[in-house]
Symmetry: C2
């Protein structure tokens, strides 16, 4: 854990697990800390590779299980682009994703409440939306104007 934000998140971890009747196992903790450490929306495979630095014997199945658990507990969000592998994101603020098609990188875009409200306003009144997903596809000019 690197900074105070992650520290706080990590401290809450055991309690969050407990409050769902779940155990704060080493596997779950490392998977979570890997996500907090490097917020580049890794896939399950990438998480697997990173966690093995600390837990060399963890299995891929367990990584999937842990990620699923973290999603259930609302500690991380699962993100999908087309049919690519699911990516994981510990950013819990309302945000959109920008998928850079030239690099494959994913960037979080903060969503102001008024924009979110405006988007939800397009729904007919009886449509009950539990969540909205907003994804941009495009590219970032490769700092061409970098002088």
């Amino acid at each position: 854990m690197k900074n105070s934000r992650d520290q706080a998140a990590a401290e809450g971890f055991a309690e969050t697990m407990a409050s769902s009747g779940l155990r704060a196992t080493p596997q779950r903790e490392f998977v979570y800390s890997v996500l907090l450490d490097q917020r580049d929306h890794p896939t399950a495979d990438e998480v697997y590779a990173r966690v093995r630095n600390n837990l060399p014997t963890i299995s891929l199945a367990t990584v999937y299980n842990c990620l699923e658990t973290l999603v259930q507990c609302n500690l991380v969000r699962a993100v999908n682009f087309e049919r690519g592998p699911t990516r994981y994101c510990p950013n819990l603020h309302p945000h959109a994703h920008f998928h850079d098609e030239s690099t494959g990188a994913t960037h979080d875009i903060d969503l102001p409440p008024d924009v979110l409200a405006r988007v939800k306003s397009v729904l007919p009144p009886d449509y009950d939306a539990r969540s909205v997903e907003i994804t941009f596809h495009g590219s970032l000019p490769n700092k061409a104007s970098n002088r």
Copy 2:
């Protein structure tokens, strides 16, 4: 083809294909007409089942090929929810999708230009978005007040 809208779409079909240097094969035509006929966002498997009523010998691989071709030609859009099978949609107007989690049904939600503009406005100025995807997940009250 059932109505004038589809008729118009169908008439343009051969030309659209030709202008991309592609052939308007029976397989492609039937796949396209199946999508126009019943706009319920079918999966490739569902399209396969429907097309076989008219072309009993078509293969699933061809259905995939045709769908891909239609997407390339901008005649249909591919739609994904989480990691479920890709669904196909002949609605070319800017619209969002509402995914009803109780029934599995998908509904198109028209997106007024100002909402689209407002959403795009959350991007930093150097982010070049080629497309935006907006997806709602929720449910519709089962016409409880249907008297």
